[in-house]
Amino acid sequence: MKIHLKIWRQKDAKTKGKLVDYMLDQVDHHMSFLEMMDTLNEQLILKGEMPVEFDHDCREGICGTCGMMINGQAHGPVPGLTACQLHMREFEDGATIYVEPFRATAFPIKRDLKVDRSAFDRIIQAGGFITANTGQPVEANTLLITHEIAESAFDSAACIGCGACVATCKNSSAALFTSAKISHLAKIPQGEKEAAKRVLKMVSRMDEEGFGHCSNTEACEVECPQGISVLNIARMNWEYTKANLLKD
């Protein structure tokens, strides 16, 4: 099939970027979106041009590395998928596809489609963990956790840190990402002890990093490749209020 691409090219954070047109005329519909991008890059390199820089690694939808806006949607048109899992069979022959980086003040552009998402790591550093040193734990089965709670904690823990929720949010809020971690750890007994401290620290770090506030538009849930529910945000708000009220 034939594909017309309009890709955002930007040399670095300081230089102005623009959309550049490319044509590919032998795209196999079994190709993944990133394999299609590989094909384009191969052609650019052979022409002596710089390939389009984009982040990717596992190409199985689990590492959270890949991320780009495809036709205005984070990770493209199919719900529940990362860009690496999107296949060209989802597009029509002759289609024009816009490819742009995830945009948010807290995710500065590095080059082309590559952005800096280290703000997410700093949110986790603020408290997204259980304080458990190596070698201290008790026997695992002394901590009973029902099937339902384990499953529900898992649903929150499944976030891959891709940033699609931020990119798609009109406020560039990191609420879905942050709340997923807060919920995961607050739901299980091991994480309960620090829950109050955790939520206060993580939320304030989220603000310091320049992410916007959540105004409940719920676009994040729609775009999240892992189906992380906005109920996590409600839980975060509840944990936050509780922590503030009970703060001594």
């Binding site: 394999e35 390199i45 008790v138 695992a140 384990a150 898992f154 891959i160 091991q190």
Partner: protein, 638 residues
């Protein structure tokens, strides 16, 4: 050179506890004077860096991804083993030790494997304490399933995302240490060389992948936790960035490489569908718990799977290995699939696959139950292939997956360069010639959480009083210059073929000649072929742009340059081992019914190779394996 594995004396059960009792300690006040570098933030690297930092060593850690959480361990699906015997089905540390040794075709050290099984108990406790949401029974107890090569249920899992959840646990522990200022993390940095000064590993040279800047880092010890190099086959189940560069550069600085030709070819990957393909996706082995593997009895069968009646199907694993059936170990299952495919019974458009069929399980347990167990794998399958595996069997095929080989390490996980340690998939230890499923996550975690913190301290205690080497040492100058020259050299070739072009060619060559089966003739041809390819690479490579900017093509080119050397060593290794064992199947050495024929008389050793320069043959140093506690037996699964 006489290789000393430094295995503690005494009974198997007490070797490790004895070691720990006798290992030297470093006074807490002195630990902050002993900085450590950890390269890699996968399960091995993150757990090591966090644990060492908790003890008070200043740690600098590195990964090439934008975040430590994205290391390849995140992709592991099936589970992690531990001999907890929660299922009351007869599991024990000893049984796990035995299964692992046997699974590895008796080509691993008894003491290491026993320690792996022993530490497995603590790992589950550790992970649960960190909040890893392992599967649970309704009453709240941990749940288990079983994996290839064993007859007990000892695999702990978190849906089909066990690696992700374990890694997040380790990553969070690491982030905690970063926030405490105990770990300095350099993401988007690639280790390009090791600095050995005065006979010891004292630092690394890394490239900042965001700026292209070459940076120096000094420390009192260097830990390599850079994972496996199975991506050398190009098409593999590994992430695109996986590479062998760190271990290879360390090898060229004097660390021996062990058993590089032992690559696990995983039986349950999705088949290749076209030339554009960049990777093969793994379907978790846990699927074999309920899926039955078969091919049509007729060659070149054209009917759709569901139209082929039961009596015209060949359930070849159940036929050949009745007691393990679909749960036969990976090397055996992969080879059996290749045998059927080569004989003309393959299915799918390219005739390169076999069926993995759930119809019986769905009939017996109901679709809902199967969905609950494997739902995410079925949906992944659908995303990639657009097929519904609830309605018709999956098509699966063998794919390169895991490197059992890597840097040679002794019992302390130290390489032949003092002060250089290798942990996780980057070392060769524990799996022998074949890795049983769910043992790798375990090894990576156990190395990092429970072993290295003791053995590294034992080494560092001797370094305290020695004079410190800084990045001003002339060796840093010299090696940094070599790195810069190499990078500039790659940019200057300005040929007509991309790094991927060479990588794909190399991968195909290796898969054909040093893959599922090997022969002296094929390997000799491969060695010649690799030489030709390497020469072409240095004449005809094209890397756009420069070394002092973001340049992912340059990153790839450097990794392919190393692969082109590692590949040759793999072939030498495979050629020198005139027997079949585990994942290494030499066509010349097989039984009448096509099973691997081991030669314990002559090859019961770990092959460790020394780099002798680029125009010389590598030198073999066999480490003879001594079996004191078990008797070697023929590895039978029938």
């Amino acid at each position: 050179m006489e290789l000393d594995a430094k295995i503690p004396a005494g009974p198997l059960e007490t070797k490790w506890s004895q070691y720990k009792v006798q290992a030297k300690l470093v006074n807490p006040a002195n630990r902050k004077k002993l900085p450590v570098i950890v390269v890699g933030t996968g399960l091995a690297g993150a757990s090591a860096a966090a644990s060492l930092a908790e003890q008070g060593y200043p740690v600098t850690s590195f990964c090439f991804q934008d975040s430590a959480r994205r290391a390849h361990s995140v992709a592991a699906q099936g589970g992690v083993n531990a001999a907890k015997n929660y299922q009351n089905d007869g599991d024990s540390v000893y049984r796990m030790f035995y299964d692992t040794l046997k699974g590895g075709d008796f080509r691993a050290r008894e003491a290491n494997v026993y320690r792996l099984a022993e530490c497995s108990l603590n790992l589950i406790d550790q992970a649960v304490a960190q909040g890893v949401p392992f599967a649970r029974e309704y009453g709240g107890y941990l749940s288990n399933r079983s994996f290839g090569g064993v007859q007990v249920s000892r695999t702990f899992y978190a849906r089909g995302q066990t690696g992700q959840q374990l890694l997040l646990g380790a990553y969070q522990a690491l982030m905690r240490q970063v926030s405490l200022g105990k770990v300095t993390l350099h993401s988007r940095h690639e280790m390009l060389d090791l600095v050995v000064a005065e006979g010891k590993a004292k630092g690394i040279i890394a490239r900042n992948l965001d700026s292209g800047l070459i940076e120096r880092f000094a420390a009192e010890a260097v830990v390599i936790a850079t994972g496996g190099f199975g991506k050398i086959y190009y098409l593999s189940t590994l992430a695109m960035g996986c590479n062998g560069s760190a271990i290879w550069r360390a090898h060229k600085r004097g660390a021996l490489m062990a058993c590089p030709s032992w690559t696990q070819i995983h039986p349950t990957s999705l088949p290749q569908s076209g030339d554009y393909q960049s990777k093969l996706t793994l379907m978790s082995e846990s699927l074999r718990n309920d899926g039955r593997i078969w091919v049509p009895k007729l060659p070149d069968e054209q009917r759709a799977a569901n139209d082929i009646p039961e009596q015209e199907r060949d359930y070849y694993l159940e036929r050949r290995y009745p007691s393990f059936g679909n749960l036969a170990p990976r090397d055996i299952s992969s080879r059996a699939a290749k045998e059927r495919i080569d004989a003309g019974f393959g299915v799918g458009a390219q005739r390169n696959a076999v069926y993995l069929d759930f119809s019986k399980a769905i009939k017996e347990q109901g679709k809902e139950k199967i969905k609950e167990k494997y739902g995410n794998l079925f949906s992944m399958y659908k995303k990639i292939t657009a097929d519904d595996a609830y309605a018709a069997p999956m098509k699966i095929s063998p794919a390169a997956h895991f490197s059992m080989g890597g840097l040679w390490v002794d019992y302390e996980l130290m390489t032949t360069i003092p002060g250089l340690f290798a942990i996780g998939e980057a070392n060769f230890a524990d799996h022998g010639a074949n890795r049983l499923g769910a043992n790798s996550l375990l090894q990576a975690c156990v190395d990092g959480y429970f072993i290295l913190p003791y053995t590294l301290a034992n080494y560092l205690s001797g370094e305290l009083k020695k004079e410190k080497i800084t990045t001003a040492h002339p060796e840093f100058d010299r090696i940094e210059r070599e790195v810069i020259t190499q990078l500039a050299g790659l940019c200057e070739i300005k040929g007509t073929k991309t790094a991927d072009y060479f990588h794909k060619k190399l991968g195909k060559l290796l898969y054909d000649k040093c893959g599922l089966s090997r022969s002296a003739e094929g390997l000799t041809e491969a060695i010649e072929g690799i030489k030709v390819l390497r020469a072409a690479f240095y004449k005809d490579l094209i890397v756009p742009g420069t070394a002092d900017e973001i340049n992912s093509e340059l990153e790839k080119a450097g990794r392919v340059a190393d692969y082109l050397e590692i590949a040759e060593l793999m072939c030498h290794d495979a050629l020198s081992r005139e027997e079949s064992c585990g994942a290494h199947f030499r066509e010349e050495y097989q039984t009448a019914d096509g099973e691997a024929l081991r030669d314990d008389e002559n090859y019961c050793y770990v092959s460790a190779w020394e780099w002798k320069g680029k125009d010389s043959l590598p030198l073999l140093h066999p480490e003879h394996l001594k079996f004191e506690f078990i008797k070697l037996s023929v590895r039978s699964y029938s």
